[in-house]
Amino acid sequence: MRKMLVAAVLLIGAAAAEAQLPGLRRRGPQAQQPQQQALLQGIEALRADFAAQSGGTTVYFAAESVGLSVAARTTLAAQANWLRRHPEVVVRIEGYGDAGDTRDHALAVGARRAEEARAYLVLMGVPAAQLSASTWGKERPGLGRAATILVR
């Protein structure tokens, strides 16, 4: 019974997160298997294609740093390549701060990371109007990063 309750709570939690942020919806297992891509439609198919062709939706930062690494620039250049071919897609870059930071500084650092990634995509030819930036500060677990999310 307790297990069922926990499961229910987790489900509700996941549903709430999706309702709040469509961009954060996790890719299903099929999204990672190219042979099943035909089953995906609309934005889910675009997301899967974007992730596969860009070599990653997320770029990572060193602790305390907002500078883009060489690997991050490579990934963003590939993302820009794809986004230029899909000007109809609305994109949001979500930045994340460091877990050990204070709350508001982490928000600002996450916003800076998102903005660095956004500015690099613009530099690589993606129309600025297609891109917006946001931050989750340290409110979601994981490494300091900026994730490129296809919203719709």
Partner: protein, 431 residues
């Protein structure tokens, strides 16, 4: 009042004396006989019953403080209505008290109650303070908090924390899906309620000085934005007309302005806007992160954090943005500064390899002292008395909770809340 210190040990109340730390000044002993009533008959008995509840609440309020030590109220110490303003000082002096609270509860024609409180200096045999107010028939707890504050202020000169409110972010569930709601309660934990529904992530509730309004950060628009919540009307609105990322709000001491930080491109700067609305005024322009502004109690200066020098440090500037200079030099990173209501201290979170701890320093950066042991303490908020700090402390399992610590260095105490909690804020005395 020129405070006379009396050693508790001399008073023969051993258990209370045992609670005293060596080297600390002893508390002022105060007598609180049960409140009386001018009413007669069965109504008089009802009022005496209310008075007894108020009396016990005053005792419980004052017992929480380090500076005032109440004698246990005794129902046999009944006195008549005229004695409220003419108490028998010698009786209470003989019991070792230095101060005395008397008062009454009176039924009014309109169904409400009038409560009067009087505070006396027993050594000098004179009145220190008095206050009377009308309350709803069930608001005796607030009446008691007002009396407690009257006594505490008369004895210590500092505002009491009894009639104040605490706001925080209530957290339930785990991981990304955990629900966060703005919660508000009286400082003694009563009247706990939620202000937001939990459908959007919320952070950093900040109460206006008299808890008439609350500013907080909502992610309802998919990115952080400062919202204002009016506690009288329950109206909620965005502070800014645009969708710029804004966060770290803090009211000015008069409640008319809100300082906050806003992103423009990759730059976080500090702005101030009228809480009633209007265009924000930009106060900082350094590249990098300027955030967490907090006003001095006279409103003339603002302490904030900035990483303009390469690492996150504390700076002070005039409220118009001029005269910016760094005040923290102790090593490590400094964030979330908050100016104390008496103007004497700035509380902060210091971040280092060994985690986050809460400390205080003078507004010129001297006399730095770390108060808590970490490893995950942050987000200090001052009590109205400037003698205690409320902060967020993560437990071993990662669940955040609230704790309070006195500046005298005693052990922090956990604050009881229904679930997890973070980002506490503590209001000034409510009108």
């Amino acid at each position: 009042m020129k405070q006379t210190i009396l050693s508790l040990a001399l008073l023969g109340i051993g258990s209370a004396a045992a609670a005293q730390q060596p080297g600390q000044p002893a508390a002022t002993v105060i007598a609180i006989p049960p409140l009386t009533s001018p009413n007669g008959g069965s109504q008089g008995n009802e009022m005496l019953a209310v008075g007894w509840q108020v009396t016990q609440q005053i005792e419980s309020d004052l017992r929480q403080t380090a500076e005032v030590m109440p004698l246990q109220p005794n129902r046999d110490d009944y006195y008549s209505y005229p004695e409220v303003t003419a108490p028998t000082f010698s009786k209470w002096r003989a019991k070792g008290a230095k101060a005395l609270v008397t008062g009454f509860v009176q039924a009014r024609q309109d169904g409400r109650l009038t409560v009067g409180c009087y505070v006396y200096d027993l050594d000098k045999g004179r009145e220190l303070a008095r206050k009377g107010f009308a309350i709803g028939p069930n608001d005796w707890r607030r009446a008691a908090h007002k009396c407690s504050g009257l006594a505490y202020t008369a004895i210590t000169g500092a505002p009491g924390i009894f009639d104040t409110m605490i706001a925080y972010v209530a957290e339930s569930g785990i991981g990304d899906g955990r629900m966060r709601r703005i919660a508000l309660m009286d400082s003694d934990g009563y009247n706990h309620r939620y202000l937001t529904a939990g459908d959007a992530m919320v952070l950093t509730p900040r109460l206006a000085p008299k808890a008439t309004q609350l500013a907080y950060v909502s992610f309802a628009g998919g990115k952080p934005g400062v919202h204002l919540f009016d506690l009288a009307s329950n109206q909620d609105r965005s502070l800014l007309p645009n969708d710029a990322m804004s966060f770290a709000p803090r009211f000015s001491p008069d409640g008319n302005k809100i300082a906050f930080s806003m992103m423009t491109g990759a730059n976080s700067d500090i702005y101030a806007a009228k809480s009633a609305g209007g265009a924000p005024q930009r106060l900082t322009s350094a590249p990098g992160v300027d955030t967490d502004p907090s006003f001095s109690p006279d409103g003339s200066r603002i302490v904030f954090e900035s990483d303009r020098g390469g690492s996150q440090q504390l700076y002070v500037m005039n409220a118009d943005g001029t005269g910016q200079r760094r005040i923290s030099f102790g090593g490590g990173w400094y964030g979330s500064p908050v100016w104390s209501p008496d103007g004497q201290w700035i509380a902060f979170t210091r971040r280092g390899q060994d985690g986050r701890r809460v400390g205080v320093m003078r507004p010129d950066g001297t006399a730095e002292r770390i108060l808590t042991n970490g490893p995950a303490d942050e987000g200090p908020a001052w009590a109205a008395s400037s003698r205690e700090i409320l902060f967020q402390r993560a437990g071993a399992n990662g669940t955040a909770g609230l704790a309070r610590i006195a500046l005298d260095g005693s052990e922090p105490r956990a604050v009881t809340i229904p679930q997890g909690g973070s980002d506490p804020d503590w209001s000034g005395v409510v009108d």
